[in-house]
Subunit: 400 residues, 2 copies
DNA sequence: CCGTTTTTCTTCGCCACATGAATAAAACAT
DNA sequence: ATGTTTTATTCATGTGGCGAAGAAAAACGG
């Protein structure tokens, strides 16, 4: 809201660098941020003073062969409370507890569909799960909660504007949870959170433009420009999964037909696999990992109908990535999420479609990464965002 | 390249504001840029000193009813040379001469296809046309040339990586022209230039994210984030027009089938209109404005086959805008270029397609503008970019 | 016609932030 | 011990921007 002072901006850059590339000595920070040792020293002095950073290097071996005064690495303090990250999937919820240094302390997975709950019931349930998890995992002092969910999210107001999972519209989820938990709640789209987390881990993804396509329960897109999430009109992610690629394609859970998601998401593959065997169409539940593994195994064994299903899915994936390349001209395209388990089945038609869909000059610029990413990484995405917010929060508290 | 000093950055912001919102007094500048009158005074003093700005307000009436010391508006000097902007279309070239204050001084349109020329011949021809135009219009002192062309452009290196118009690939156009003309040459994609120019004129387009779809000779996309052009991997615009929407659609000049362009561009509509009458398919020349006007007239008169053509084109346009909305979540979508002449024919199917393609929540956020924009505006886009560069250039010269 | 009012612009002292240079600190090598 | 090397801190300095006070330029009001 209020304009950050230049000091706050550099402070933030410094903390970001430290979070991304691990504990570092002051000289290294200076080099990386392109600022003088004097400035780093000055800035870190106050951060150490505030207790945000510690320097418990002590006996840490510096290698032995180097001479000169040893580096003193700066760490985030672990004792400034913790943050809980939550992901709400279609029929399960993942929770994770992380201390203020970013170290994972506990995690839990709960099988529980969230559909068909009233807004109040949903928020009551989530608040209950979160407090139970915090208590049972002995969370020291939960300072904030980060929540990643599918659908179209207004990250500024913390509102789920639309979601294929929760039935409701314009759900003020952050506010509701904040009221119930008494803690700040940060909301984001799950694909955005995943993209952010991946870029935190891999410096190459932070350079230039990275389009991250997460394929699993649904299809989401997170887009990064120089490591920062691109935010749209309501500062949310996009609903790229509901671009309608085939005019008379299969039914999508958004109500439309032929959306990208309707070919690629687990529920779509599972449903269409069932239809092949003339078994009754399953209800809307997302299949479990076992069910999906079975389908993949049968396809790998050579089931022609299933192979055709994956061929078509790969083609849609190629078209989708092609659209991204022609529209955004990214340096990196990341394909991640559960669907990467079947990348071998998707790849031939994926590559063929990508080739016919894109202009060669543009296609050659985009490096395509296939990353097997877990939900752990996803919760990490919102957690890091929450931790970043907290840094600023602490500074403001100290000032008062 | 080299990091701009903070001073240079604010200097640039000030000049940009002055260019966008016309001559202004110092107080107004201060309000708009959120800085104190003292700072503005300081900064403008050196700009006036360098001769970049002038204050020849003199007898300008301030309204009469206001009291107090009258505002002194700051103008760009007109006497610091001029800039030529060029647009290379499919079968014509537009040139425009503008003085250092941004006022248009002369313009010319040359009917001349550029295809099937060798790289050297092409650059010779362009250089010749530009010098002739400069001489005949009595250009005082041409400081730079801005060139907008179709296709995939590397704006940093000034290379046309790919173009459906020029047959060549990786053409170092800026360097070639710079060698021939002895002046800096700035290259950009034409849709990007158009988007930029539109946003310069209309402040609302500078707020948030604006996707500008230019439909005419081809289909191009310019994307703005907070008034600045989004730049992809090679810092160029995108080739959105060659997203393949219909797998077995009509032939596109890129070699593919079913590209957005293959439905919407003038050449496509003209070609398909000819085919209806079983006339021989025309050669690849872009039809003239008269030919297009005839087609539009016949369609308005009720020709069912032509109406169908426009219906299909509108549908593709709706799908295209839908993809943009679902992917970029823009605040504004601008449809501009010659194709707006037939917007009445396109609109019904456009709106229907847009509605089925997009999620309502997202669609409602994007304001859709249909703007009849001329090529004049397009050359203005590159010219303003060139002028902006020159400001910095002048500062560096003074410093040396 | 001359002070008063009002608004714009400038001058000046000051503060926040960052830097380079000198200095101190902490190790190893001899 | 004493130099060598690298890291961290201190301090004087410079830059950019700001608030406050004052100067300037007009209209207004007697």
């Amino acid at each position: 809201m209020n304009a950050p002072t230049p000091r706050e901006a550099t402070r933030r850059r410094l903390l970001d660098a430290l979070r991304q590339d691990g504990p570092m000595a002051r000289v290294e920070l200076g080099q990386q941020l392109g600022m003088s040792p004097a400035s780093v020293s000055d800035l870190t002095a106050s951060l150490l003073d505030e207790g945000i950073l510690v320097t418990e290097d002590g006996s840490e071996a510096t290698g032995g062969l180097l001479r000169g005064r040893p580096k003193v690495r700066l760490y985030f303090s672990e004792n400034l409370g913790s943050v809980i990250g939550v992901w709400t999937g279609y029929n399960r919820i993942e929770l994770r507890l992380v201390d203020s240094a970013g170290r994972s302390r506990a995690s839990r997975r709960i099988e529980r569909p969230l559909r068909n709950l009233s807004a109040d019931d949903l928020m009551d349930l989530l608040a209950d799960l979160i407090t139970t998890f915090a208590r049972e995992s002995g969370a020291p002092d939960v300072k904030a909660v980060g929540l990643a969910c599918q659908g179209y999210v207004d990250t500024r107001d913390g509102v789920v504007a639309w979601s294929p999972v929760l039935g409701t519209r314009d759900l003020p989820l952050a506010e509701g949870l904040r009221g119930r938990l008494g803690k700040p709640v940060l909301l984001d789209n799950d694909a955005s959170a995943m993209a952010f987390a991946l870029a935190q881990r891999d410096p190459t993804l932070r350079a230039g433009r990275t389009a991250c396509l997460m394929v699993g329960d649904g299809v989401g897109l997170g887009f990064l420009i120089n490591g920062e999430l691109y935010r749209g009109a309501r500062s949310g992610g996009s609903e790229f999964g509901h671009v309608r690629l085939r005019r008379s394609g299969p039914q999508c859970r958004c109500g439309g037909r032929g959306c990208i998601e309707a070919f690629l998401a687990d529920y779509a593959l599972h449903r269409d696999a069932q239809l092949i065997d003339h078994r009754p169409a399953p209800n809307a539940l997302i299949p479990g990992e076992e069910a999906m593994a079975t389908i993949v195994r049968q396809a790998r064994a050579g089931d022609p109908a299933l192979l055709n299903l994956f061929r078509e899915a790969g083609e849609v994936l190629g078209d989708a990535v092609g659209i991204l390349i022609q529209t955004l001209e990214p340096d990196h395209v990341v394909i991640c999420g559960p669907a990467t388990r079947a990348m071998d089945l998707l790849r031939p038609s994926f590559e063929a479609a990508l080739e016919t869909q894109t202009i060669q000059e543009l296609r050659m610029l985009a490096a395509i990464h296939v990353v097997e990413s877990s939900i752990d990484l996803l919760t990490e995405g919102v957690i890091i965002q929450a931790l970043r917010e907290l840094d600023g929060e602490l500074a403001r508290l100290k000032a008062a």
